[in-house]
Amino acid sequence: MRPGSTSAACAALLRRDLLLVWRRRGDALTPLLFATIVVALFPLAIGAQVQELRPIAVGVIFVATLLAGLLALDTLFRGDYEDGSLEQLVVSPHPLALLLACKIAVHWLTTALPLIALSPLLGELLFLDPALRGLLPLALLLTTPLLSLIGAVCVALTVGMQRSGMLLALLVLPLYVPVLIFGAGACNAAQMGLPYLAPLLWLAAGLVLALVLAPLACAAALRISTS
């Protein structure tokens, strides 16, 4: 890789972001802990019987994942905005959308992927239907990148604000609705013995579309909010 080329810049950004996460490994565990606690609260509130927990297991895990992702979203550009390196990215000669795609990818890898790995355990806590053991991580694998990509656009809009937590949730949640519906819907359909391939394919189509469009939208939003 020639130094100064776009691919070198992307590689440097990936390495830097991964290193930053590694240096603060404790913080990276927060979404995991949060999702586990949310899931653990449900049996306490509803009751610990199999027939009580099994029907809601998929929904609870999806909502817990979504909320954990929402909490983690705030950190996507926060540090970079505060130390000024985000503006360096905006004025750099490389395509901003590509650089942001790298940042989003690292963010997904470090916040969402551990959650997917944890999801079988969460499923056991809620007595998840054994038939769904394979499908749930697959559905999460398709939904979480979509959540990260859509969320990144909204984070870019609120990047300069001091306390953006509640506002970010308000912006992001209506956009998350279709993703949640198809992700959880596929698992629920499978649980009811209905065909579940269609919603998964819709999610995959949405993911392909978002992979192309979301970084561009994110770049446009960032240019508006840092101008």
Partner: protein
């Protein structure tokens, strides 16, 4: 420059727009009130009772025009947001942001009247019907746009960011509607429709269309009022606003 583009540019300048809006707005209001009064009289007094739903169906004379306006206001906002982002025209930023609260008000009325209709018809205040759910998320989208616009200090940057969110919402709305429809078929059977597939009688149609017209004109009156306020805020330091403030005080 031909006359049309000349007028277009002239209308785009804040002082001219403000002057014209101030003159047009009372007429819009008066017209909307007159048409609304006739429409409500036609709907609540003249129109015959529905043979299936009894008199409860009369709620559609406020519910359906408001539902149309909730979507129309979003479309109006999105078109203005697009123009504002592409050509950076100040007036369109103001118009886009002015239509958000009005659209939210119409959507809110749609939800409340829909719920008031649902109680006697479905027996519950709320049901997770595809239309109601989509409408609810439309309201949240409006709140997001308004919230983002209020949260950013710099007014023009706030309008641009909120306009961008409005455009993202345009992409999202059909997807929400589609997904909610799919979700509805997964979780429950058929639902009662406010409008059956049957054709609506002329004696019920004309009040409905008149109400739709009245709410459209009311929308424009309200948007003009909000746009005037927005322009004053943006141009607070300019001469025409100072003059206006002095005239207003005296």
């Amino acid at each position: 420059m031909n006359t049309l583009t000349y007028w277009f540019h002239k209308l785009g300048s804040p002082p001219t727009f403000h002057r014209i809006a101030t003159r047009v707005e009372p007429w819009c209001l008066a017209l909307a009130l007159a048409l609304g009064a006739i429409g409500l009289y036609g709907g609540f007094v003249l129109a015959p009772r529905d043979y299936q739903q009894g008199d409860a169906y009369r709620i559609i004379f406020v519910h359906v025009p408001c539902a149309w306006m909730g979507l129309f206001a979003y479309a109006f906002m999105a078109v203005n947001a697009f123009i504002a982002l592409v050509w950076r025209i100040k007036l369109n930023e103001v118009l886009a942001m002015a239509s958000a609260p009005v659209g939210a008000a119409f959507t809110f009325v749609t939800l409340v009247t829909g719920s008031l209709w649902g109680k006697p018809m479905w027996g519950t205040w709320w049901t997770w019907d595809a239309r109601l759910t989509s409408e609810l998320f439309l309201l949240f989208l409006y709140f997001g746009v308004i919230g983002l616009h209020n949260a950013i200090e710099d007014r023009r940057q706030a309008a641009r960011a909120a306009s961008f969110l409005a455009l993202v919402g345009v992409v999202n709305l059909p997807i929400v509607h589609f997904s909610v429809n799919w979700w509805n078929t997964l979780h429950q059977g058929s639902t009662v429709r406010l409008f059956g597939p049957s054709k609506i009688d002329a004696s019920m149609l004309w009040p409905l269309l008149l109400m739709a017209l009245a709410t459209h004109i009311w929308f424009f009156a309200s948007v003009l009022a909000r746009a005037r306020a927005g322009l004053i805020e943006l141009d607070a330091g300019k001469d025409w606003v100072r003059k206006l403030a002095q005239d207003d005080a005296s």
